[in-house]
């Protein structure tokens, strides 16, 4: 970070944190075309503190509303007692760093899904981890509309299942993608939609790979940018879907634990009563949604907009997701009506 920006950040930090800020050190954690993450180390009235600063990349200021929304979601989750990085402050003054940014407490841990699934020295007792994740999810689902701080989420859908069918079809159409297999599964979904018994805040990307663990257990729930109002069973289905088990198909809760333990935690945490048929519906939909996201990534390369072999290969994942979703929606799984 250039010296002028760092000096302005130091003044903003002193004002925001309300004390003498010294020894500010800023280092880049990660960054891409969309978002930058910086580690900010400083002394506040002499005491060492470490934060993470999340900022949209300069090229994408038009979408910077996203950071403000994400911060509001994390703040709402934090108030509801969800284990998230503590939200410290949001800066919407572009004069400080050239764009809005969020400041959060730094949380340590490993987040990479395949590593968490394989490395059993992480996450502590795995059944306890699955139960804990269920409890955290229940706390997310305790946030109900209307909620003034989350007004940007818009009006809750009256039928979340059919809303998702329509959104996924629209996404396929927008790409010009003709995928008969995905159409088959979406048509099944349209004919057999899960009926939402409640509409709550849903994370919409609650899965292994989007939380962090250390050697003893969970340290934070991450990646809130897809959150919105929806059917809470959707989060259970996304977490348990076979496409998010990273090779441990026997461990139905995210490749890390049993479905029983996950549901037990969800129940103990005060979650909505679990409807197994609805969860299964959302597991089917998880494959379609991940396939559509994979195709969108592949399309970024295929269209020539952005060279990325990684995106091109991600697009190819769609085939195996279609195979799994077709197997779950065989003719025998359709009602006669």
């Amino acid at each position: 970070m250039e010296a002028g920006a760092q000096a302005r950040l130091g003044r903003w930090l002193a004002q925001t944190l309300g004390g003498a800020v010294t020894s500010v050190e800023v280092s880049r954690l990660s960054g891409g075309a969309i978002q930058e993450n910086w580690m900010v180390e400083l002394r506040l009235e002499g005491a060492p503190r470490v934060f993470v600063l999340r900022k949209d990349a300069a090229a994408t200021i038009a979408t910077s509303h996203g950071r403000a929304d994400e911060f509001a979601l994390i703040r709402a989750a934090h108030r509801s007692g969800v284990l998230v990085p503590e939200p410290i402050a949001f800066c919407s003054d572009c004069d400080v760093l050239g764009g809005p940014f969020a400041l959060m407490a730094k949380v340590d841990g490993v987040g990479f899904g395949p590593k968490i699934v394989k490395d059993l020295t992480l996450g502590g007792d795995r059944e306890a981890l699955a139960e804990r994740l269920g409890r955290e999810l229940a706390k997310i689902h305790a946030i109900r509309p209307p909620c003034a701080d989350l007004a940007f989420l818009g009006v809750p859908p009256s039928d979340p299942a059919l809303a998702d069918v329509a959104a996924l079809r629209a996404a396929l159409d927008a790409m010009g993608a003709s995928r008969p297999a995905l159409e088959w599964v979406l048509r099944w979904a349209e004919r057999h939609p899960a009926k939402a018994e409640a509409v709550t805040l849903v994370h919409r990307d609650f899965r292994t790979g989007n939380y962090m663990v250390d050697a003893t257990g969970l340290t934070a729930i991450l990646d809130w940018e897809f959150a919105g109002w929806g059917d809470p069973m959707g989060d259970l289905g996304w977490f348990c879907a076979s496409c998010w088990r990273f090779g441990r198909n026997d461990l139905e809760a995210g490749g890390i634990g049993s479905r029983d333990a996950f549901y037990r935690g969800y129940h103990v945490g005060g979650g909505v009563s679990v409807n197994p048929d609805a969860v299964r519906f959302w597991e089917v939909m998880a494959h379609v949604r991940w396939a559509v996201i994979a195709l969108q990534q592949g399309e970024r390369h295929a269209s020539g907009r952005e060279f990325s072999l990684e995106h091109a290969l991600t697009g190819r994942i769609a085939a195996e997701l279609e195979l799994a979703a077709l197997a779950m929606t065989a003719p025998a799984e359709w009602s006669n009506a």
Partner: protein
Amino acid sequence: MTPETSGIALLQAVEQTLSRDLAPTLSGDARFKTLMAASAVRMVIRELDQAGALVAAEVALLNGSPASDLARAIRAGAHDRDPGVHDALLAQARARTAVSRG
């Protein structure tokens, strides 16, 4: 046996150059990208190798019509619970997965 190396054999040589010769000498992002490139080449080799099965699966499903026609018809409900269409979709997804996953 001809003295020329076939296209698939050339790709196999590219794959080995990337994964066996280059990747072990690299680290970090360069190693990751080299292994990813090797993986993509393996996928192309499978796609060429299984081209016949891929075409057969597509013919069985579409019979020469564009995929967009079938996609539209399925969305409109013209193939609800249709076991023939489901079987052909499954067969094509299996053939494609055999390429993408190996």
